[in-house]
């Protein structure tokens, strides 16, 4: 479904992506992991067209996407930090995003799932960080798209919302969608991810299932296995 070939990106002297190749097939939950500054966010942002790579190609369903914008109608993105125009209300924001995408949305179920009914007429500037993140999640999941990209989705969520989020992700997976997640919370990865994509020095260092990773590193615990992968950077 996603084909990335020889992707290079540097910011000034700092090389972030260094000839990255990645191919992701349709369906399943992929956790994009790596130490801080390994290029996870840059990789996701090039996929979204926010960061423009120096060279390389990205294709979605065999079609080149660099420099285009219509393809974004077929993907949902949850940004890392949710910051919205402070003077709009929650329902206005939802209406606006719906207005911007030529596709049907189903936000009602999500609003009641996260208990946001009472906040609909509140201004976004007055919401707490966790509530903003819930709004962010509603905005992401209300569209039916085949590719879902979540950047640190668990930030600021209370335990109940976290359970709801995991259920949502599983539901989407059951419908055959492809879900990319970046996170630093290994228990979350262990619980929901099917495959791990591990980035190191701007390249894919490991790609495969959690079992294979545990077997290769000889650790039973995912956190220890990942820590061993990261420690190779310092070796």
């Amino acid at each position: 479904m996603i084909e990335i070939k020889d992707l290079h990106k540097s910011f000034g002297k700092l090389t972030v992506l260094d000839g990255l190749d990645l191919s992701i097939k349709k369906g399943g939950i992929f956790a994009v992991l790596g130490p801080n500054g390994s290029g996870k966010t840059t990789l996701i942002k090039t996929l979204l067209g926010m960061v423009i790579p120096n060279s390389g190609s990205i294709a979605l369903h065999g079609q080149d996407i660099l420099g285009k914008h219509q393809y974004r109608n077929h993907l949902n993105y949850l940004p890392q930090i949710a910051n919205f125009p402070p003077n709009l209300t929650v329902s206005e924001l939802i209406k606006m995003v719906k207005n911007l995408r030529p596709k049907a949305a189903n936000e009602k179920g999500l609003i009641s799932l996260f208990g946001l009914e009472d906040f609909l007429s509140k201004k976004l500037g007055n919401l707490s960080g966790g509530t903003k993140q819930k709004v962010n999640i509603v905005l992401t999941f209300m569209f039916d798209s085949e590719l879902i990209i979540l950047d640190e989705p668990t930030t600021g969520l209370d335990p109940i919302s976290l359970i709801h989020l995991k259920q949502l992700i599983q539901q989407e997976k059951a419908q055959g969608k492809t879900i990319l997640i970046t996170t630093h919370i290994m228990s979350f990865v262990d619980e929901i991810a099917d495959e791990i994509v591990f980035l190191l020095d701007g390249k894919i260092y490991f790609k495969g299932s959690i079992e294979v990773l545990k077997k290769e590193t000889g650790h039973k615990d995912l956190e220890a296995a990942i820590a061993q992968l990261i420690s190779k950077q310092y070796a």
């Binding site: 942002k45 940004p79 125009p85 402070p86 709009l88 206005e92 995408r101």
Partner: protein, 260 residues
């Protein structure tokens, strides 16, 4: 682009600062008319204030809005919209809401004081047009600065510096160079130098309309001699349009390469 414009505009129209700005102009209008008691005299005083203040407010609002809505811009960038439409929509939203504050804030007191029966209606109208131009120009310039500067504090610094340069220092340098080189023919130089500063250009445009030669100054006089009143106004308006258009072109060019 229109959708983005609509929501940026809504957002700003509910911001406290739009009302502070509106209230300021409202108060200014009433105070000026109360002190002068004459619409055409008030227009001259108003010109001096508008020409310095609208650029400053436009600059500050422009950078502030860009940096404050950065995360939201990122959310919009993930939607199926062209990035140039997002930024241009925001830009027009900011400029338009500032212009509305200006037009309503000054318009209400002047209309109440009998603007429609006064001969100064065209002068006043031109003043508002120039104020609107200055809004659009300085928001565009500050958006350019913000787009090119990742660091918020630096971006603010550069933007204020740009305003200071165009509103204050430019005139000083201009005067010094006129004094230093007064043995040479300076007509063309001063004409060109005026074109390169939208604030000077606006001042001359209004003074040409008011037809007060005493206030025109050297450049104004050269302008009037060179272009004549009506052609001078037309050409200075045209250059003001260029001052909006060129920063917009650069914005587009910058956006093609920008990483968010």
């Amino acid at each position: 682009m229109l959708k983005i414009l609509k929501y940026s505009f809504y957002d700003l129209m509910r911001s406290r600062w739009s009302y502070v700005y509106f209230g300021f102009y409202l108060l200014l209008g009433f105070v000026l008319l109360f002190l002068n008691n004459d619409v055409s005299k008030a227009v001259i005083t108003l010109m001096n204030i508008i020409i310095v203040l609208t650029p400053l407010i436009g600059t500050i609002f422009g950078v502030m809005y860009y940096y404050n809505s950065k995360e939201f811009t990122e959310l919009l960038l993930a939607q199926p919209i062209q990035r140039s439409h997002i930024i241009r929509g925001q830009y027009v939203g900011v400029s338009l809401s500032l212009t509305l504050s200006l037009v309503l804030g000054l318009g209400i007191p002047f209309v109440l004081y009998g603007l429609f029966m006064s001969a100064a209606i065209f002068d006043f109208g031109l003043l508002l047009v120039v104020g609107a131009f200055l809004n659009f120009i300085f928001v565009a310039l500050s958006y350019n600065i913000a787009l090119s500067t990742e660091n918020k504090i630096k971006g603010f610094g550069y933007a204020i510096l740009m305003w200071l340069m165009l509103a204050v220092i430019y005139d000083g340098l201009f005067m010094i160079s006129l004094l230093l080189f007064n043995e040479y023919p300076l007509d063309t130089f001063s004409l060109a130098a005026t074109m390169f500063n939208p604030i000077d250009l606006s001042r001359i445009l209004i003074l040409l309309q008011l037809d007060i030669s005493a206030l025109l100054g050297y450049t104004g006089a050269v302008f009037k001699k060179f272009f004549g009143t009506s052609f001078g106004m037309l050409s200075s308006l045209l250059v003001l349009v260029l001052w909006v258009w060129l920063p917009l072109l650069r914005m587009n060019w910058k956006l093609k390469k920008k990483d968010f």
